[in-house]
Point group: C2
Chain length 335, copies 2
């Protein structure tokens, strides 16, 4: 049974999911290539996954059969236990909690394509719409405090398989993640000081300085962050204040699909198809102050190693100025 | 010129050190093997490093010549500017600071040995004594707020060269690292609640439960942490309350050398010579409440990839229970 444990000093939760365990000496050494013959995510192979919980389907097609655009299934290797009750307990000074929560995979396309940038704009738009809908559905579960959407591309980014079929994870958690809590806390302090959203102020300054902006369309802007942890780390913000991703109007999603595909394409052009992680940071389910959080997407290329200095300090060393990174990416957009 | 930039939301500092920059497509792809012929850290090659700032030398030997046990030199690829003044400035909502600080390398042995576990106990004891002395000397610099000691072993742990000559980094920072600040904050809250050191309580519970203890000698204990982020992550604590590593009595260092070498040896046995990071977390230079911080060493094997879930949430997924990890390591000690 998976279990959450809380670090009594830093209050960080760790999920112990021993069913995923490999033999000690095998860690991180497997990198399997999956072709379309054996790919459980390809159209026609629906029986290789658990039954779907949601799909955008052609009229007349059957559940768990072919004829879909986007398909959502429970993760076979889920880190969380969907059916369990949330049990919290103490053991001396330690805190533990049952690893209750939801873990779904969104299969972004019926075709065996490994990278998001091979998808058409309208396909990405559809997949973003599905993610929006799934988050809204999950929010009805009384245990879920936060819904995190992540994508791992390439083995350095933690993807299990090489050249895999493009998919994302939706994880519903019974607690608000530490990183999101930090952002909310920082935004709250800023709001109390200035009575403005810190994200809105960042966007305004980025647009006015125009040194780190990569793409600026009607509703969204992508920038290399001023204090990026990683070389070429990029963020996408809605230009209008909006706390929850899942409340984004559908008519904005075409713009979002364009900026997402074009930003990642530029990244892949500059860095030669790097591994990367994508994270959607939306507001917690029970928003107390929607005025202070502002949803955004973080794109983190995994091209340099994180060393002892970073693990020990929580600070990062970045060898590339975001101004230079933005310039390289803009040049790549034009070429 | 290196520069610190502060994330305006999470308040994390990032050091931009562009002099270390490689071409975008070369990131993380170089892994050079250095043999003793070309190793700048070997005895007899003292002219290949910047002039030493400290060395434990045989009587009659010359500065920057052979005849030393442990040698300390400035890092040629320093991330920090030793001579600069500390300049802080704002730019709109962003904060920046000159990357002032100290960055030294401690060469742990004159012999070309890549791993700490190839050193004799008395050699490790000597090298720990030198680190203690260097921290105490650095504390006199009025700019330095924190001295971090880290060791990277193996390329997955961020080491630049494969099979390199065993060495550590001492980094003097003008700010307290985020991770240490979090520990202090957590320890402070605990102290206010219970009027006891949280680390002392952890040690007491670990010794009494004896489920995660690997080695327990007169002055130190090594344990697989209850909420370890990484498989086989291990911590070493002095059993007596002591806030600063650099105040450890010299007569304790033999015990520390033994527990450090034996713990890492067990780790290397179980995991087949893994990459790892070692961090010494000591109290900040200007200790306000020595009663609440408790120095410790963190040993983090780098055997699994950090994926989008971890980067996006700040939570970790660990496939190995620390109780199992401790058991494997103890079995390896005996064999």
């Amino acid at each position: 049974m998976p279990e959450y444990r809380k670090d009594p000093i830093t209050k960080r939760w760790v999920i112990f999911s021993t069913e995923r365990s490999e033999r000690p000496k095998d860690f991180g050494k497997v990198e399997q290539v999956i072709d379309s013959q054996e790919c459980p995510f390809c159209e026609g192979h629906e029986d290789m996954t658990p039954p779907e919980v949601y799909a955008l389907r052609d009229e007349g097609s059957q559940k768990d059969g072919p004829g879909w655009k986007v398909r959502v299934v429970p993760d076979k290797f889920s880190i969380l236990d969907e059916d369990g009750d949330l049990k919290k307990a103490g053991k001396g000074i330690y805190d533990t909690m049952s690893a209750t929560g939801l873990h779904e995979l969104v299969i972004e396309t019926p075709n065996h394509m490994g990278s998001l940038i091979n998808l058409e704009y309208h396909e990405i738009e559809t997949f973003l719409k599905v993610i929006k809908d799934r988050i809204n559905i999950k929010k009805d579960d009384y245990i879920i405090q936060y819904v995190l959407v992540v994508k791992n591309y390439g083995s350095e980014a933690g993807a299990k398989f090489k050249h895999s079929h493009s998919h994302s994870h939706i994880v519903g958690l019974p607690v608000i993640p530490k990183r999101v809590r930090e952002e909310i806390l920082g935004a709250k302090e800023y709001y109390e000081f200035r009575e403005r959203c810190v994200f809105c102020d960042i966007i305004a300054q980025e647009l006015s300085e125009n040194e780190r902006v990569i793409i600026n369309n009607e509703h969204f802007v992508s920038v290399c962050s001023y204090a990026a942890r990683f070389p070429y780390e990029t963020a996408i913000f809605p230009k209008k204040h909006m706390s929850a991703f899942e409340n984004t109007p559908d008519e904005y999603l075409s713009d979002l699909a364009h900026i997402l595909k074009d930003t990642i394409s530029a990244l892949c052009g500059v860095l030669d198809n790097p591994a990367y992680n994508i994270v959607i940071h939306t507001a917690p389910v029970n928003q107390i102050m929607p005025v202070l959080y502002h949803w955004h997407i973080e794109i983190m290329p995994r091209i340099n190693k994180v060393a002892g200095f970073e693990w020990g300090s929580g600070f990062y060393i970045n060898p590339v100025l975001p101004e230079d990174a933005a310039l390289h990416m803009k040049e790549n957009l034009r070429s």
